[in-house]
Amino acid sequence: MSNIKEIQDEIVDEFEMFDDWMQRYEHMIELGKSLPLIEEKYKTEDNLIKGCQSKVWVHANLEGDRLIFTADSDAIITKGIIAILIRAYSNQHPKDIIEADTTFIDEIGLKEHLSPTRANGLVSMIKQLKMYAVAYQTQLN
């Protein structure tokens, strides 16, 4: 199984094939379609990520020593962004998720989404995934 860094590199490679922003966004929209969807019962107020113009729900559960994320969003681009994050961080050990860096977002040309003041809440999404990892890490200890 690939580790987080390997998956991030794979995503960066994929995005490098595209010449312009339009293709990158189209690819991101495609990736959104493969997002492991959150079960309806988990689409609760508690699982909503704050700080987004669109709604993003994320759920996490531990399988063995690995954290599995599922998510959904009512906006297609946001769905693509969370799909990219989940592809990198899901099915990984909480400790690795906590330690993972996020510079690959910059490398795939989505840097503008990284600004903490952007309304799409990418920073909040990363924070939320890491928070889950921290919470489950303490369970494993």
Binding site: M22, Y25, Q53, S54, D74, A75, I77
Partner: protein, 412 residues
Amino acid sequence: MKVASTKVNFDVESIRKDFPILSREVNGKPLVYFDNAATSQTPQQVIDAIVDYYSRYNANIHRGVHTLSQEATDAYEQARIKVQKHFNADKSHEIILTSGTTHAINLVASGFSSLLKENEEIIVSALEHHSNIVPWQMLCEKTGAKLKVIPMNDNGTLNMEEYEKLLSEKTKLVFVNHVSNALGTINPVEEIIRKAHNVGAAVLLDGAQAAPHIKANVQELDVDFYVVSAHKMCGPTGVGMLYGKEEWLKKLPPYQGGGEMIATVTFENTTYADLPHKFEAGTPDICGGIAFGAALDYMNAIGFENIATYEHELLEYATEKLLEIEGLRIYGTSAEKTAVISFNIGDIHPYDIGTIIDKLGIAVRTGHHCAQPVMDYYKIPGTVRASFSFYNTKEEIDKFIEAVKRAKTMLS
């Protein structure tokens, strides 16, 4: 170059040259700025007024005996008179310079907390911006007064029959926006004011969205309070106006304590300064006030009738073009509206459209526009809102339409 198709003598190309920002690029494309309802752009004449102030006569006002202070005081007080004349207030001390619309509303709400009694009623409209809902909710919590809401109709107008039913001798205050920020609806404010006055209630109009398009005449309207922000009318951020009838401003207690607002101070007692200084504690945004005056000069030189006529042409043109896009719905279809179009396409999220067209250099607003009750009414998460100003062009609208179509293809 004159724009041939417009009905007014309006040289939009020469006007555009006054706005340095309009020549910049965004994401490699020429900027198309259609977020004017959030904030307007600033002409060179206003930028010059700001630079001139800090370059030549920056000083604190109303106190200094030295020349700079007197020059700054004169310029600031002249700006107040420009504001007074623009809105046709009877007296210059009825103009309180605030940090903006929100500050002005809070000033009035705070003042009324000592005048309102339990079970008295405040009426707001369903079209309000959050800044015109929250202060009144806070006021009601504090005083035990009750908040009543004028419902809206499907086309984004207010239900005036319901308004009449809400009015009674218990009504003390009515707060309505002159123009809805989310939909652009121009509300029938004359009727709202007349009917409120019939039951002895005061009226505050939030003119933030109206002021860039309509020159309100506060005496003719007979409105008790009128509030605006300078940054929506070619002025700087951080400055706005509270107009209040003298009788009301005398009745309201001061909002903040500090310098400027006092006449005499001892540890036993303080007497407050006369209007307008009673409500202007501390050093104000002197430069901002002066620049607000410069912005009014600029807009008046173009003329509000010209502005309204031209913007209406832009509105009609954009509405027609947008409606050609299949699945597009416009929210707020009142016959009386400013150059604002709030829309969605099918079930595409407004955020997605906003993100894609930003990549094409187009700035619009997406989201709930701080008017969640309006979005709840339509059961939508938000809209894409394009808002036009007199410096926009039909060519820009064409680019915007192309961008929206491209976004639709990508997102469907």
